[in-house]
């Protein structure tokens, strides 16, 4: 055993050297790498978790009931558009209650053609031939459209993908920040933003669906009825965003936020904050035509089912540019502009978990964690030296190399160091000597039994290996489960433990063996003080 091959010694040394090189950038973290730092050396650093760097962690969940409702509404729009086309099918008594869309076909002879045309606007789901909506006829004149489970699932999946991109654009319109926005499970999005000054503003930005619609005001509606929430056929009652009250608007959407190409915060003639929007070509044409037909009538600007304002159409708006006014501050107008420009959220998102850490607390934690790590390492080293003498020096060398290797590997894999991760680091430092302790105790024991020095060392390393292996596997099992079930900070803890287990076994067994072998070869000791 002690006759380690040259090849083995070189490969062990190489692994350690590379590991240490990779740990350097993280050790001098906090100061940016200076110009004198050679560029051929690695520069990857360990990521700091939000609990150390400061920042916000948000878990968003889609409001699936709202998503279903919206899907039903959009199907209603599609159906009315489709059946209004030639040959026109007259329908009435549209209802979306009970999670399904039902309506009456006025002319019973048209029911079959209507069903045929509606089946065409549904989409196939998967390979089984099922479709995203079921179209059925009830009482020979009523058509019932029910969303299928497969269709709802696919719609949710699509919506979550879009929502993720929208959230990312809203938080980081320039695409320059190091933020994390990922889908989790079927209906959740995880958002991590470092260094947040105002988490409430962040949540407002994400929480707004930003569904913008322009609809004509229904002037025929009876005001008393409207205030009670009843609207004439083809119209709906919507609340005003400010100051209470309600207004009746036509159900039909003149033009919607989907057709925007740009939104910017600006000011009107009186210096009030507004949002200037610009439509795409199709949207501009449509907006122009509708405003032309309805000069001197009011239209409602609706955001997330609330009426922001209902200005009068003084003249046709032909250029595709419009101004949204409401009681905005510069900040809220800016927020709305960002939300509109990033597109509407296909589904309403609720914040179900929030963790925000201020930057000062993080700095404090890093400082205390670093001090504790250094003192703990020193204490363990001292303990090893007084207990094992020369072999304690080897254990110490292994310990230091181990600490550097953990940092190096974390930097290579871009792993995230969290606050519990610091505890994991200190624990690993304390426990890392275990393998050396096992070996050294075994050597002591074998020597007491009368074995010669070389024999004692050799048997010590060999016999201790099984125990080292078994003892570390239990830690790996616990750490893997921790990683699987944990999130954020806890995962950071599990990562440090796992890396630490591997590096400590490697350094304690392989690295010290090289050191011991070199010493024994050079000095040929006759007595072992261990």
């Amino acid at each position: 055993m002690l006759d380690l091959s040259r090849w083995k010694i070189w490969s062990i040394s190489l692994i350690i050297l590379v590991g240490i090189l990779f740990s350097i950038p993280s050790l001098i973290a906090g100061t940016t790498l200076s110009d004198r730092y050679p560029s051929f050396l690695p520069s990857a650093k360990i990521n700091l978790g939000l609990d150390l760097a400061g920042g916000s962690h948000l878990l968003l969940e889609a409001d699936t009931a709202d998503a279903a409702k919206q899907r039903l509404q959009s199907m209603e729009d599609q159906v009315t558009t489709e059946l209004r086309r030639n040959p026109r099918v007259e329908i009435g008594d549209i209802s979306t209650s009970g999670g399904r869309l039902t309506f009456l076909v006025r002319d019973p002879t048209q029911v079959d053609t209507a069903v045929e045309r509606l089946r065409q606007i549904t989409q196939p789901v998967g390979l089984t031939g099922s479709r995203d909506w079921d179209v059925q006829v009830m009482d020979s004149t009523r058509i019932v459209m029910t969303p299928t489970q497969g269709g709802a699932q696919r719609a949710l999946k699509d919506a979550m993908t879009v929502a993720r991109d929208v959230v990312r654009r809203r938080i980081d319109p320039q695409g320059t920040k190091e933020i994390t926005v990922i889908n989790q499970g079927s209906n959740r999005i995880l958002v991590q933003v470092p260094g947040v000054e105002d988490p409430e503003a962040l949540k407002r930005l994400i929480g707004q669906t930003a569904r913008l619609e322009f609809k004509l005001v229904d002037l025929t509606a009876d005001q008393a009825q409207v205030q009670q929430g009843r609207a004439p056929a083809g119209s709906q009652v919507l609340p005003m965003a400010e100051g209470g009250g309600a207004i009746a608007v036509k159900r039909r959407v003149m033009v919607s936020g989907d057709q925007l190409v740009d939104a910017k915060q600006g000011f009107d003639q009186d210096g009030r904050a507004v949002v200037n929007i610009r439509f795409n070509a199709a949207g501009a044409r449509r907006f122009g035509r509708v405003t032309q037909e309805n000069v001197n009538k009011p239209f409602a600007i609706i955001l997330d089912d609330k009426v922001l304002s209902a200005p009068n159409i003084n003249e046709p708006i032909l250029g595709g540019q419009a101004q949204i006014s409401g009681s905005f501050t510069v900040e809220t107008a800016n927020q709305l502009a960002v939300s509109l420009a990033s597109g509407k959220l296909p589904v309403k998102l609720n914040v179900i978990e929030e963790r925000t850490v201020g930057p000062d607390l993080g700095k404090d934690s890093i400082r205390k964690g670093a001090i504790a790590s250094i003192v703990a390492t020193g204490a363990v080293i001292l303990f090893m030296l007084v207990t094992y003498g020369r072999f304690g020096i080897y254990a110490t060398a292994a310990l230091i190399v181990n600490a550097l290797l953990i940092l190096g590997i974390m930097a290579v894999f871009n792993a995230t160091l969290t606050l519990p991760g610091i505890a994991g680091f200190v624990l690993t430092i304390g426990a890392a000597v275990d393998a050396n302790v096992l070996i050294n105790e075994r050597i002591r024991e074998e020597q007491r039994r009368g074995r010669k020095i070389l024999d004692a060392i050799e048997t010590g390393y060999k016999e201790a290996s099984t125990a080292i292996f078994d003892a570390n596997i239990t830690n790996v099992i616990a750490a893997v489960l921790m990683w699987y079930f944990g999130s954020g900070p806890i995962r950071g803890f599990a990562v440090v433990l796992m890396i630490g287990i591997v590096t400590s076994v490697f350094t304690a067994v392989n690295f010290t063996r090289v050191l011991v072998a070199i010493w024994v070869k050079r000095k040929r000791p006759r007595v072992l003080h261990i």
Binding site: I352, G358, G430, E441, A467, I477, L481, I530
Partner: protein, 316 residues
């Protein structure tokens, strides 16, 4: 050079003589721990019951009574205020507001504004809001992870040794985890996600000693076929005693430094591992080994698996 020997060479302590006394003590303390957890419960953090937690640091020491009445003045439900790592830092806990996310947001804003108005210079260090749904999931996942880790490790030990050893490991883990929970119930320290991570760590590390001792028992069972089980366990425990002491002390030393100098936020995590390692050292001697006697481990337990063991994992 004179080296420190925590444990003298060739000790011959009769550990097993006290095994019944130790058993009674362990059962009493374990039952008491579980009972106190059952009766007094644990001081569960927002991670597991939902609600809001706001940590603030004030520029100078303040009166807790005033802070409490200031928070109560906002009428946000039953709040609790705890000192957190020094007389200037406090943790304010608020219950889950009725009315969902919007209400939770408003509550956080209200507390923040109140603090900035009444205590100029104070800083809000951290805000955590956990909805009821997420807290239920976190509690369920945490319990599941701990249960799976205990089972997984017991099964591993069973495969590597014999079934009696697996049972011994499981009993030991149950003992260690119960005690740690009992400690948290008595001290009213807050149980959050970190503590779950700590318990998982204990499950891994407190068993280290047990595994090393089991490894030695197996070796001795093969070596001394004629020896009775009780003296054999004593021999194995004495042979590994020095290692058990050195390793446990080394871990406790490192964690002790972290307890004294480390960040307050991970105090709960560190103290839980500290207690767990401490209890684990005791239980590896007085729980894991006696269990083998009661389950009737004999030298021939390993005879038939000798060949299989020889083909076990190669030396690392």
């Amino acid at each position: 050079m004179k080296l420190l020997k925590l444990v003298p060479d060739n000790t011959n302590l009769d550990f097993m003589r006290w095994r019944n006394v130790a058993l009674v003590i362990s059962i009493v303390v374990t039952v008491a721990s579980l009972a106190i957890v059952g009766i007094r419960g644990l001081n569960l953090g927002v991670d597991f019951v939902g609600g809001q937690m706001i940590r603030t640091t004030f520029p100078q020491a303040i009166s807790v009574e005033k802070l409490r009445s200031d928070v109560d003045g906002l009428h946000l439900g039953e709040s609790s205020i705890q000192e957190f790592g020094g007389p200037k830092s406090y943790q304010i806990r608020l219950p889950k507001p009725e009315g969902g996310e919007a209400a939770a947001n408003r509550a956080a804003i209200q507390v923040r504004q109140m603090i900035q108005q009444n205590y100029p210079g104070a800083r809000v260090d951290a805000v955590e809001t956990v909805s009821g749904k997420v807290s239920e999931e976190l509690a369920r996942d945490g319990a599941l992870a701990i249960a799976l880790a205990m089972l997984g490790i017991a099964v591993y030990i069973w495969f590597r040794f014999e079934w009696q050893f697996g049972v011994g490991a499981l009993v030991t883990l149950f003992h260690d985890v119960s005690m740690t929970l009992g400690f948290f119930s008595v001290t009213r320290l807050q149980v959050d996600l970190n503590v779950v991570a700590a318990i998982l760590t204990i499950v891994g590390y407190s068993l280290n000693d047990t595994v090393v001792i089991y490894d030695r028992i197996r070796e001795n069972l093969r070596k001394y076929r004629k020896m009775a089980i009780v003296p054999l366990l004593n021999l194995s425990l004495n042979e590994t005693l020095s290692r058990t002491m050195v390793t446990s002390l080394s871990i406790l030393l490192a964690l002790g430094v972290l307890l004294l100098l480390g960040p307050e936020v991970i105090f709960g995590l560190t103290i839980a591992i500290f207690i767990g390692i401490f209890v684990g050292t005791y239980s590896s001697i007085y729980i894991s080994s006696p269990v083998l006697v009661w389950l009737g481990v004999k030298p021939d337990s390993f005879v038939r698996s000798d060949e299989e063991q020889a083909a076990g994992p190669a030396a690392v």
